[in-house]
Amino acid sequence: MDGGTLPAAGTVALLLADARLPSGGHAHSSGLEPALQGGMPAAQAAGFLLARARTTGLVDAATAVAARAAVLEGGPLGDVERAWAARTPSAAMRDASRELGRGLLRLAKRLWPESAALAALVTPPRPVVLGAIAAATGLPAEELVRLSVYDDLASAVAALLKLEPRDPADGALLVLAACASIEARVPEIAAVRSPHQIPALSAPQAEAWAEQHAIAPRRLFRG
């Protein structure tokens, strides 16, 4: 950023969590449309979000934390990305995350042009970009975990309101409840320092739904 005054890390977190962030995220449903198309009743959305939070949500959050640590401590981001890919077995989910990452990276390069770590990224997944942004802006690890999980779940609920409309206040309750469900694990995830510490928390049913959705002829969302 130019000028002598930098935005507070908390403000950066608000910006990144804002659904109005211009990074192409509106085309994604965080696995929610794949689940509905795969036969999950809409009434089970709360359970879906809880499962998403403690599996994909924590893998991504830990990846973001590891990426932040790698940038701050001079470690290679490629190792973080490989560790994330090894823990994200669905190719469709990896593709969706890289697409989100590219959109976010395009924006981040404009906002933080001084970041060599951001400049060096090519097709990173979303959490690696988030981690590099956190390193560039002083965003603490615990806030990064919450941001990564919140953004993912809020995308799912925004898609839910388009696919299975309901009182949007119910959607907000779902997001907060799912975020709260992993709060006890935030310190442990925020303490991740190296790629091998990223937990392997897979969600086989959601991964299968993602694979089916990627080749579905009619869908509204990318993944």
Partner: protein, 256 residues
């Protein structure tokens, strides 16, 4: 545009308009008319997956690899106006993969009368109406009808079947556009296709020459307010007169 090399890259030409007016068909027509002499690429914005891209690939007007689909997450107007990230990435990819390209045609997802492209995404834009949508649509106005670089009144060959007076519809559209061009088009009417071809080449020349400046059609064009008390039955009202193009209008955002 941020880049100062703007005229070095391909002309990015948007095609917007309501669903079913023939945007994909218009792009196929442009490809047929110009693929021999220009290096073209196409990006489609679909509401459901990549149906328009598939239509264009199957039309055989361009190598299938030169036609890319952007999926818009049920927000086709967002993807061309306020968050153009996915379309910019697709345009940059296409221009890199097939460098050098002369023109990248970007089709909007069929949406509504108020959806137009951001000038940060396209250098110029065509807005497409069709005679089957009714002869009065052009009179209703809207940013695309009023201020797109070109307004196409499509499917003129259908006019006798739907009871539309094409010259009247074109006259209404011209009146709503302050002299900006209106083209009555049918893909089966060779002179109209030739006029479309000439318009694209003219805009490309202006783009390359650095004389073309991308314009935002704006969130709302001058429009007619019906008023029984008024001697003319109402009045034409232009927000641009009083507030310039940045003015936003409550009606323009009401669909989202």
């Amino acid at each position: 545009m941020a880049e100062d090399t703007v005229s070095q890259r391909a002309l990015r030409l948007g095609v917007a308009g309501p669903v079913g007016t023939g945007k994909s068909s218009l792009i196929a027509t442009i490809c047929r008319a110009l693929a021999e002499e220009l290096r073209l690429g196409v990006i489609t914005n679909d509401i459901y997956t990549d149906e328009d891209a598939r239509f264009l690939r199957s039309a055989g007007v361009l190598e299938p690899e030169r036609i890319r689909a952007v999926e818009t997450g049920a927000c086709p107007h967002t993807a061309i106006r306020d968050d153009i990230t996915a379309n910019l990435l697709a345009a940059e990819d296409l221009e890199r993969d097939f460098a050098p390209l002369d023109v990248v045609l970007i089709e909007s997802g069929g949406d509504n009368l108020t959806a137009t492209f951001s000038p940060a995404l396209v250098d110029a834009q065509i807005f497409v109406l069709d005679v089957a949508g009714g002869g009065d649509v052009a009179r209703k106005g809207g940013p695309g009808i009023g201020r797109a670089d070109l307004l196409v009144v499509n499917k003129t060959d259908l006019a006798p079947y739907v009871g539309v007076d094409v010259p009247q519809m074109v006259a209404d559209a011209t009146a709503a556009r302050d002299g900006r061009p209106v083209l009555a088009l049918s893909r089966t009417d060779a002179p109209s296709v030739a006029a479309l071809r000439a318009w694209v080449l003219e805009v490309l020349a202006a783009h390359r020459g650095g004389t073309h400046v991308p314009q935002d059609p704006g969130p709302m064009a001058p429009h007619f307010h019906a008023d029984d008390e008024h001697p003319d039955g109402g009045y034409v009202h232009s927000h641009a007169d009083a507030h310039a193009d940045a003015h936003s209008h409550a009606e323009a955002g009401a669909d989202h």
